[in-house]
Structure formats: C-alpha cells, structure tokens
C-alpha cells in the first residue's frame, strides 16, 4: 500500500520533471531518457528472464547570487520484469511492472567550503567499493544488495568531498523503494570515509547497522583501489553479522579498459565464510562495450560454486 502511495506521488513528480525539461536546456541542468533491456539466463531451471526499464535521468545544479547551493538528481524508471527469478524484492512476482526510483535526492551544498553538505531523499547507501563506482542501471555490480539489503533508501545524509577526504554518513528508513518499510521500527545507518577517489590509489572504511523488517545487520568494511595504466584493481574486506550469524567476506576485481575507454572487461571474485564453511564462492566475468556514443552493450557470466549455478546476463542500454 505504501509502495503504491509512493508511486502515485512519484508519477506526477516525474511528469512535472519531464515538462520542465524542455525549458531546462539553457539552465544548469542535464537530462536524458534511459532505455534498457536485460536478458538473464539461469541454468537452475533452464529459464530465460527479462527486465526492461525506461525512465528519465535528471540532474540540476541550483545556484543563487553567491554560487551553487545544491544539486537535484532524479532517476525515475518504469520497469517491467518477465519470468525473472530471483528478482528485486519490490517486484510482487516474477511478472510485474513497477515504477522504480533509483536515485531521487537534493544535496544542499550551501553551507560553505568547510561545512558538510546535507542530502535528503532517495540516497545510494555509502558503503564499500560500490560507493566509489557508478553502477546505476549497469550489469556491473559490487556488494550492496548482498551486504546491505537495499542499494538505495529514503532518508538523509551528511557528506563532503574535498582535496584529501570523501565522507558520507546516512540515516535512512529501510523501506528501499517505499518511503516507509512494513516494520516501522526499521532503520539503516551507514557511513563511509576514505581518501579522495580521483587518486590512483585510494582506500576507505565503511560501517552499516540496520534493522529492516526484523532482519538485523551489522557490517564493517575496508576497501582499496589501485589503477595503473589501463588496469584497475579493487578489493573489499568485510566483517558482518546478520541475525546473529557472523560472516567474513572478500570481494576483489581486476579490470581492463581500452585506451579510448569504449571497452571494459572485468573479473570479480566474491568469497564468503559463515562459521568455518564457505557460504559463497562466486566468480563474475563481464564486459561492457560503448559501440555508439549513446548505446552500451554489456554481458556478464556469474558462476556460483557453492550453489552450483550459472547465470548469463546481457543488456543493451540506450541513453538519449
């Protein structure tokens, strides 16, 4: 019911945004339509699932006479899944259509050079390697859903980026796509502090404590990334607890880009131990190819050793 209410509110907001887009070309804004089709093959039941998304991506810098005072980011998508299982929890079943809010927030930056910014809205949770890398709508993913539950959530954060440090601490509701979760006592507290991500070598520390619909989590992570020429390497080590079950996890990635950066190839390895047993040994092998300025083709193979499953995904994305 709350999800429905959320969507009823977002539809007019989305339409309003689209209507102002035609006037926005000469102001400090960017806007793009974003259309993607994803195909997922799973060998568990030898099935083929699909996800189609169409939405708007809108970004506007708000200024006054003294300078910029904030940034509005809105990403609203109509998303259809067909025969997709497993699927994100905000879909009712494996055939469903939902209005999905990826990011929808205002980051107030008007407190000045030395004070933090304040972000309000639907926020990507600041945690681990994924915080540094833009994975919105891409096949390339890191550890957010597995570690935190939602990848983005409704709430507030304080954040800042300067010459030496990036940090963000957020307090969110735990509802994910909904303003409020089913259990009103839910919350998600997440934080990240690290060296500036424009350096060839950077590192950071994260924490996350949450209670979402009776599932309690606590995570602490260290992440590092290093870039040398066309090669990139990143790693994340995590100590976590989910409903009193402790686990350790490591996530590593090595990637290579072509000199024009139209091609990306990556290999990821995720290892997780609960008690003294491996609970995950996942290998992901993927590629991304910008074969046109606005068109991106991606593919990824996921092999889960412990679960003995193979998944093959492919996606075509067009931003215009």
């Amino acid at each position: 019911m709350l999800a429905l209410y959320t969507h009823r509110l977002l539809i007019p907001v989305g339409i309003s945004l689209i209507s102002v887009m035609s006037y926005a070309e000469d102001t400090s804004s960017r806007q793009s339509f974003d259309l993607s089709s994803r195909m997922v093959y799973s060998d568990v039941d030898d099935s083929l699932g699909f996800m189609h998304a169409f939405g708007i991506d809108y970004h506007k810098v708000v200024s006054n006479a003294q300078g910029d005072i904030g940034t509005l980011t809105a990403q609203l998508y109509v998303t259809r899944i067909d025969n997709l299982f497993p699927h994100p929890p905000f879909f009712d079943d494996k055939h469903d259509t939902e209005l999905v809010t990826r990011i929808f927030n205002f980051n107030y930056t008007g407190l000045g050079k030395n004070l933090p910014n304040i972000k309000v809205g639907h926020i990507e949770l600041p945690f681990g390697s994924e915080y540094r890398i833009n994975t919105n709508g891409t096949l390339l993913q890191y550890t957010h859903p597995m570690n935190l539950g939602p990848k983005a959530d409704w709430g507030v954060s304080i954040n800042k980026q300067n010459a030496s440090i990036d940090y963000e601490v957020s307090l969110t509701t735990g509802g994910g796509q909904s303003f409020r979760p089913d259990d009103a006592s839910s919350y998600v507290l997440t934080g990240y502090i690290g060296t500036s991500s424009h350096h060839d070598f950077h590192y950071g520390f994260s924490f996350n404590q949450s209670k979402i619909n009776q599932v309690e989590r606590e995570n602490y992570a260290v992440d590092v990334a290093y870039y040398e020429g066309l090669w990139g390497f990143s790693a994340e080590w995590l100590l976590g607890e989910k409903n009193d079950v402790n686990y350790q996890q490591s996530f590593t990635e090595i990637n290579w880009r072509s000199p024009d950066e139209k091609q990306l190839y990556y290999l990821q390895l995720r290892l997780q131990r609960q008690f003294s047993d491996w609970s995950r040994q996942d290998l992901m092998l993927g590629t991304r190819y910008h074969f046109h300025r606005d068109l991106v083709l991606s593919a990824m193979l996921t092999y889960q050793e412990v679960q003995n499953t193979v998944q093959l995904s492919a996606q075509l994305r067009w931003r215009f």
Binding site: G112, K113, N134, G229
Partner: protein, 206 residues
Amino acid sequence: MHRFIIPVFLLFSVNVWSQAFCGLRDPVAMIEKLYPDYTSFQSIVRTVDERTREVVSKELPGMVLHFGELGRHTLYVVTDNDGVLGLVHVRSEQSQWGLVEIAWGISKDLKIDGFAFQRCRSADKYKLEVPKIQAVFNGKRLEALKSYYDFEAAAPTQTYTNTIGYTGELGEVLLKCGMKTLLVTELVWWQDIDTIESSFNTFEPN
C-alpha cells in the same frame, strides 16, 4: 516465447555520454588546488555539440573531440569574497593510459591560470604537475599554445619539449588538452564569460 524488444522513440536527442548523472561530481579537489582561497563556485552547464566539434577540427587541424567530450559540460566560475577568481573547466584527452582528465584554471580574459590532473593513470603526471611546467602554461592564450604545436607534423614543437624538459606522450596530451580547453571554453561559454563581470559586480560577500 519472450521477445527482446527495443522500441524506437522518435524523440529529440540530447548528446550525452552513456553514464547515469548520479555519478557526476564537482571537481572540488581541483578547484581547491587551482584556487586555494576560493569561497564558492557557480556552475554553468552548456552543450558541446557537433558544431563545436567541427570548429575545433578546423581551428586545431587533426584534433577531434572524442564522443565523451560532447554533450552537457560545466564551466565553474570560482569566487572569493571580493569577486571572481577565475574559471575552471575539466576536459579529457585520449592517451595510451585511457582518458586523461585535466582541470584547467582560466582567467576571465581566457589565459591559463594553472592546471591539475584530475584523472591520469600515468605516473608521469608528477613530472608535469610542477611549478616549472605550470609557469610555461600560465598566462598563455590559445595562440601562444598553438605556437608550441606543429599541426602538419601532428606533434609538439621541439621548442615546447625543450621548454618543459620532457619528451613523453603525456606532454603532448597536456598541450592538446590545453588548446582544446581554451577553444571550447571560448566557443561554448563566450556569452556567459562576457556577462560574468557584470553579474558578479552585484556580488555580495557572505
């Protein structure tokens, strides 16, 4: 049987690099490096289009804007309590190490104030981001930078390499990026630059 459908929408096209906008970050660290005493900045977002690309190819023969350089881009007007300190624009240049992003500090009359490597996967950036080489660029306009480049040979002149004391590829990347930045800034933001002075005359210190 499921179908893999890509509808074709006959809508206007806005040139954008296929990346979600939530990944956009202001180059705060670079602004701080180029203008350490700044107190604030204001973004002016404009479109770098095919027409700009054509003029760049004509004015700087052999140099093309790659597809990531087209689309909506930002010029930052950097201020302190007394008014405008300068402009900051970040442009990228292809290299053997991938895209090199360089932030340029530019005065209101379109002279170089300084540069800083925002993203560069070559360790040679530490050899170039030094006061001696900054001094070679500082105060230069586009025409002065062009005199360091042999367009027929598509290479920097010996005068340039001798002046900076470096012959590697990153020196050429730096020079080409500087020329393209000054030209693109003038072509795309000239109307804004013309009005910066008057709009910030009413600037009220915090």
